[in-house]
Symmetry: C2
């Protein structure tokens, strides 16, 4: 049967001061009325039933996730520590197979904004069908809409059938010129939407991913903490997909965004005629291309442009939109009593 594995970790710094370790971005209504995590589960409707959606997350976010996502209690897989995506996906895939020997797994992230849920489901369905038909690990490559330097790219290789191709190579976070070249050459964004049969995934892990494979007996013994103590933190891309020759790619033609910075709201939220995004109360006079998010106080802008202005959790942030990607450095330089929220 089909299972979904929703990766819902994340440290909660990108959308400071709105996001916190207890409420990282996937729990926030960044792209619309609900959180991106809720939207991710909702988006699977008709493709994978809720009782077969597994969620992997850390202890800090678990209470809010359990409250938001109406899923069976034992579908929440709580990581004892964050160890990147390979241990999380391998554990969850192993768990799906424990419950269902013939499990097929669709892996996705809880922090995406997707423009066309039906197209997303059609592509995910194709990926799952391809995974079984060709016995491969299938990546979904999203047709790029801009030469984004913050994403990874997949360069497709030879056709496998009408929908799927092999993967020639991966290119992670290219510089701007390389990103333009990749786009021109037909490369696709590596979305993190993957499909595989549990059996095939675990075979490939045994072959290519010693950082995790050596810890699999701990899972067999029911010792999840021991598994996480034994693994090396590594991403599924670096630890497996870039090493395996059993990878395929199907392309997806839907708007997809990982909503990585405040600036991303300008892509996933409605804008006023001056290009501003306003969430909360505010009046934007003679101002353009600003991102304004206020939890409480009305925000009045007058005569400014290209600014992020946020009030949340008792902090006010003002920065140029082009600096939104530097959030980590900004936070590192803040005194703890300003930076740390709710501690």
């Amino acid at each position: 049967m089909r299972w979904a594995v929703l990766l819902a970790g994340g440290s909660g710094t990108r959308f400071w001061p709105l996001s916190t370790p207890q409420t990282p971005k996937q729990l926030l209504p960044l792209s619309g009325a609900g959180s991106t995590a809720e939207e991710a589960v909702e988006r699977l409707t008709g493709l994978i039933p809720r009782e077969r959606v597994l969620v992997v997350a850390g202890e800090a976010v678990a209470p809010r996730l359990r409250a938001l996502l109406k899923l069976p209690a034992d579908n929440f897989l709580i990581e004892p520590r964050a160890a990147s995506t390979a241990p999380a996906l391998i554990w969850a895939t192993w768990e799906a197979r424990r419950r269902d020997a013939d499990a097929e797994v669709l892996s996705l992230h809880a922090d995406w904004a997707v423009g066309d849920a039906a197209a997303f489901r059609r592509t995910a369905d194709t990926a799952l069908v391809t995974a079984r038909a060709h016995d491969r690990l299938v990546t979904v490559g999203v047709v790029p809409s801009r030469p984004e330097t913050g994403y990874g790219y997949i360069v497709p290789g030879a056709p496998l059938d009408g929908a799927a191709r092999t993967v020639a190579r991966f290119s992670e976070k290219p510089d701007a010129a390389t990103a333009l070249d990749l786009m021109a050459a037909g490369a696709l964004w590596n979305s993190g939407l993957f499909a595989w049969t549990a059996r095939r995934l675990l075979e490939e892990v045994s072959r290519h991913t010693p950082e995790v494979a050596g810890a699999l007996p701990r899972l067999e013994a029911g010792d999840v903490p021991g598994f996480f103590r034994s693994v090396t933190a590594i991403s599924i891309d670096v630890g497996l997909l870039e090493r395996s020759d059993a990878v395929a790619v199907v392309s997806g033609a839907f708007a997809w965004d990982d909503v990585g910075t405040w600036q991303a709201l300008a892509r996933v939220r409605p804008k006023d005629p001056s290009g501003n995004v306003l969430v909360g109360a505010g009046v934007l006079q003679e101002s353009h291309d600003c991102i304004v998010w206020s939890e409480r106080d009305p925000v009045v802008l007058c005569g400014v442009k290209d600014l992020v202005v946020v009030q949340a959790n008792g902090r006010i942030l003002v920065m140029p939109t082009e600096r939104a990607a530097d959030m980590k450095q900004l936070l590192d330089a803040l005194p703890a009593e300003v930076r740390d929220i709710g501690t």
Copy 2:
């Protein structure tokens, strides 16, 4: 005896959202630890005793003024309506003479920042001495430190003695080129610091200011509301000083600012090495020449310049410092529920 008349009206729009009709700028600690109104009374210490400081203000600000300024209760003269400076000063001067037939009056405003209180007192003393010695209405002209277009200028005329000169003419709010010419020609800022004997002021009013003189019998009859109903709103400059030939000017060499906009805080407040003014909690990273005032939430700026950022009274304002002078137009365009505070 010497009396002071402190004009403490003002509608409370210049420092929105910090200032309100109930707490206009003269009641706010804009230039330092105390309000400018408190500082104005304190600055008179040794020159005019508190029991002879009269305060003219409207009903809206009266409760806060009474609480802040420790003055005799009947020294607060509450205007039934705002009618510019001529009716206020003429009423207060009339009141000083009622209490003291030989009253000398020093008129000043409650919203000034003054850099050197001792120099201020010496100049005020000179103005009062000049007013009696030459039987004139004496203006204090402040030596300009910049070609400010928001102030009025006094062009001095012939010397009356070592300290005082006649007034050749007034020039109100010149354009930038004219302001430069005025500065070069030795013109002085018209500070609003005036000195006169009550007798002489009322004589000149009878001669030159029909807009108010006709209402003086109402004051004689003890009918202050009737006086204010009968007068025409007009400034003391336009209604009297520009008309009279019994005016003199003494120059004052102290830093003086009417703290007219948020931008003025950069002149009257200490700045960090990057030229920022921060009042309240905040962290200003890679930011320069900003004015930040926060009543509650820490403000984090990163990579911005020349911005005013204010949180006060449940509103957040972000505008370029150069737009601070346009506050009235900004407020006119705001919806009432955002603009009106505490109503």
